[in-house]
Symmetry: D2
Subunit: 378 residues, 4 copies
């Protein structure tokens, strides 16, 4: 694999590298690791990349790698740059026949997203979007239970993503993660809504199998002088008549990455919190709540297929991330070998999820600008 | 004290009696305990009331008790009837000079509520509304911390009250608690919103000291054939610029009385769950979360004044209820003695909270009928 | 009822009064409330006792009350004095035909305990020992499940009672609760072992239906200069071959009343923590853990009979205490009426539990003195 | 690295490979992966090892690898075989100048352990023993706080390791993990005590910096016909006068890997549970309990140095394991380069911990055989 972005000073690039290495299926062999060519080269040294495959720009990466033989060249790139630098390298990758792993949100705006979607489908390439949370085994379990009707018709969904790290204007202190996320030129039209609201939307739609059809969003910037939203409270309605609440925030002082979801059906419900990802609470109308645990024999097939160690050995965020990479790699391998991938590997977020996320961002921001009017989401 | 309602088949009447008895300040000596005069009399026997003070109707109760000497007659009545029978006995009590404890919501509609409010103030009587949850010691603590600026300006409030007991149409099975709560002739215009949404509203406004100024509510009846709402998701805005989410539900399958609240300020936040009422999570931007516990020496004065046993002896719902009765009794005693009550006793919900609750119901229902348009709350 | 001890400066007396008042079955009408006759009288005024039934000593109480008619006189006394003043008033009560509620541990030493046991049985009186924790509804449920073989044969029991309040020598600061508990002249031969170790022993034997047959105890006084133990770690063996660990401590800094128990059988296990008394974790070899909750319809008969409010309304320590008083009162009422009490009321700790507790204290202290040698418990 | 054991049918070998790969410091290039040479070769194919470095036996591995140049040959071996096959390959590795990572317990008996310890020290090689739990960042934090006197002198330690998976005789069903662990020819003299009791011992001594000086153990085999212990309850005493309880069990039905520890000092205490490894409860005599969380800025240096992702991204068992490998690799690299390793990398369990574990096993089993008599641990 090759990596675009993720060099010195980055956070998520290192996460991608661990996730990719974890299962011995993927090797990092090339990179254009930083927007500054000098830092890009130094970052390559840090990672023991061969100098000749440590590129100064992603343009150079695609040019050179394309000229290598199929045996030698990278099979795919990982794009771990800020939002405004997702589209162009992804486009180039797809146009040059490379499969892609890309950070979320998919792109700077919806138009770019649709172009990428179109390229993926027309070129028949594999594209994974790293909505990590859906990589947890317990989320596989939740999806299987909900979509198979375990609780009857779904009535209500409550999905939350509170963070507190942007409670103060740390973007003005030079904190790199905060700076680009609060800069509309780099993040796009949304702040918290794009960065974490899309995770909540993706989680809710993924595990229920439902689609949000309309929403009403109260979008706020609490920190004075900040240019993008840092909080949003959203009423949501689903295509089966279910209703719900989605809220995300980066000014919820004292919260870490407290993404969580509750889904209520006619006869029971489930509840999951990312901070304790191997546990899920399954509640019933007429019998005791059950506590599901990753790795237990009663877990379903999809969860089992995404679990590395027996029950009682906590798996975390990196393993969830690793699941996306492992599944993606397996599908790429099958594609290269001209085989049909096993169904268990086809469960990772794709470019279609990415387009969906951009539609969600558009709808939330539009609703917010109209003083929380209802906006349809197609 | 005298009790109106709360006889055979009732739930909340027994709770009031335990709460009233708990601190040895109050004795039940009279009652009109059921709408059916025969059951009223039998219910009096159950409770060892003297036959001559076991009344067939509340009209009779007020008539007879009024004729007794000040020494003999009841000082106050507790009204524990369904919503549509709050107003008339409360009105009669106030007109006859009796203090009142009344179940929530205050009345059948806002107009009634305002009449009672007017009577309370003009007759200088004491009126307690049993929004029980504010009786918990930890809620006193939360209020004290939030209103004294512990976390800076409040930015966001998330308050939830999910229940699951009305997930199926049990009102059609003759279940008495369900029947009147889903009957618009007895409950008023709101179902879940009136029964538990008002608790959430009262909790949020009580502990923050803020007022909700407008709201946008998606109000739903999920159970087919039910005549009142059983779920509502509400965006809320406060008078200091804070925003939030309030949702209440009686179709959240598998939930008990899971009322909980999170309040976020600029520098920290707190979180409280009624199911574990003696614990509060206090979160900070830059130091470890703290876990406050009822009865500990570090708790504030108001919490201490409403705690009966040292830390480690869990206090529950009945003790919270008892706190309202104890405080009310102390204020009534002071009133009768012509004294000024101690400030620690003046912290129970009053007729003004009741009017507020009815305004909230009106606003939520109106918003719901307008497809979740924003409605102001004065 | 009459009360001995529990006047000004006391803690547990107030708890007894709330517990006794809660269900409207019991009225406090007489008392000898303090070892100092002057304070005894003032304490009586605090509680609105009639002056003529506010006694200066318990001797006076028994003398005078015995002369009253059966209608007038108290039916029973509550003894809430320090350990060294349990025996004599209890003996006098029993000899004068009064039923007794007594604080634990039963007496100053085993010999006294056996004398009381003998008196209770020979005089056919009702005697309740306030091992409060067995009054919780969930403990009734645990007992029912364990003794009916829900988990097969019981193999292992872990019962703990850590407290931290005696981590420093607060008895030297004049703290009244600490003073007598650390004074061998008032507490007897044991400190923590008597005060809270007996609770652990009683809880373990009560819910399993098993008897401890031998134990090996490492008993320690950590706070320099303290005269009694403040920590004990004990290996235990039961009459069915089960084994276990019991430890109690008053120097576990930062702990409140964290009594908890886990019982493991062949096919499953249960776990209960007093700090969250309405929840019990039921674990299985081959299916998800279940979370039992007080007040739910799936709870057994005994638990239901000791629950006052529906699920979701937390019941606490005072209600558990109230259950002992309510059951005791019902049995006394039946006894007075010459009737057989309903079985549901016969589930409170008695003088036999008290003797058992004194045997446990003797065995633990003896083992400790022999450097944790095994000691049999008959 | 080379691996001995860990081929088809094994569990822990895969864990070692993920842990080793995670940080991009270590590559698996050779192996003798199974006791059956044919399976060893097939296992090598599974892992894409080069055929010429896929060895049939570990003897062959050492012979061949020793002949390779320093550049080519492996730097170390990972020994992931059952207990009775730790000693011989470890000995050969050390005699041939290879560094070693070895599974716990170190060896089949104490004599072997001491031989290995001697070889490690005389040959100046690096030896890591995979007591994984001490690799968690929070355990680094606990150690730092406890050994720096945060809570004053340590008084009490409670360490538990309950599992339930051997509640029934699954070793007779052919379950491979169960079979060798219950076979005295493969496991040594101890069952649960060796497999998990040593983890508890290592955790307790590691985080406190104290040494157990004597113990008293009630050792039991509950499952009929089983040849080794499946449960032990142990009283422990430490070299500073602290006391405690250690218990481990494989018949605690319904438990996963619930290893946990509480350490009480004079002014506070801490509590950690492996199932929620990124959380630690820090309790105080006179202020609210604090909840420490991995990745937060207030965490100490050693914890920070062993954390890969920011707070709110749960790290798990594999990351803890990876920490041991990463630290080990860094120290091996420094050794090879003739440099002094950075102190932060010197915090992994070594052969000395392994000898300690074997001494612990001997003492527990001896005590058990003497009906839980006190046995000294040097």
């Amino acid at each position: 694999m090759g990596m675009i972005g993720g060099g010195r000073g980055a956070f998520i690039g290192g996460v991608h590298r661990i996730a990719a290495a974890m299962d011995g299926q993927i090797e990092l062999v090339a990179g254009a690791l930083h927007v500054d060519p000098e830092i890009a080269l130094l970052s390559g040294q840090d990672l023991f990349l061969q100098p000749e495959r440590t590129y100064r720009t992603y343009h150079e990466l695609f040019e050179k790698e394309s000229q290598l033989s199929a045996d030698e060249r990278i099979d795919f790139v990982s794009i771990v740059t800020p939002n405004h630098v997702h589209f162009d390298p992804a486009r180039m990758a797809l146009e040059n026949g490379f499969h892609v792993v890309c950070e979320k949100p998919l792109s700077f705006n919806l138009d770019e997203a649709k172009q990428l979607q179109s390229l993926v489908h027309s070129n028949d390439l594999v594209f994974a979007l790293t909505h990590t949370y859906t990589g947890y085994p317990m989320i596989k379990q939740a999806r299987q239970m909900l979509t198979s009707g375990t609780f009857g018709k779904i009535r209500k969904v409550v999905v939350e993503y509170p963070q507190g790290w942007l409670s103060t204007p740390i973007e003005r202190t030079g904190q790199q993660q905060a700076s680009w996320r609060t800069d509309p030129k780099k993040s796009g039209k949304a702040g918290a809504v794009g960065d974490i609201g899309t995770h909540a939307e993706n989680l809710a739609e993924t595990i229920t199998g439902l689609k949000i059809t309309e929403l009403c969003a109260d979008v706020t910037t609490f920190v004075e002088g900040r240019l993008l939203d840092d909080d949003a409270n959203v009423l949501i309605r689903f295509d089966n008549g279910a209703k719900g609440v989605l809220h995300c925030s980066q000014i919820s002082a004292g919260e870490e990455n407290a993404i969580n979801i509750r889904v209520y059906g006619e006869t029971g419900s489930l509840e999951w919190h990312q901070h304790d990802p191997n546990t899920m609470y399954v509640k019933w109308l007429d019998k005791p709540m059950e506590v599901y645990r990753t790795g237990q024999p009663y877990m379903g097939e999809m969860a089992q297929a995404h679990t590395r160690v027996p029950a009682g050995h906590p798996e975390g965020y990196l393993e969830a991330f690793g699941n996306i990479y492992r599944d993606f790699a397996k599908v790429v391998q099958a594609k290269i070998a001209g085989e049909t991938p096993e169904p268990q590997y086809l469960d990772f977020p794709t470019v279609d999820d990415g387009v969906r996320g951009m539609e969600f961002i558009d709808a939330v921001i539009e609703s917010g600008q109209k003083n929380a009017a209802w906006v349809s989401l197609h």
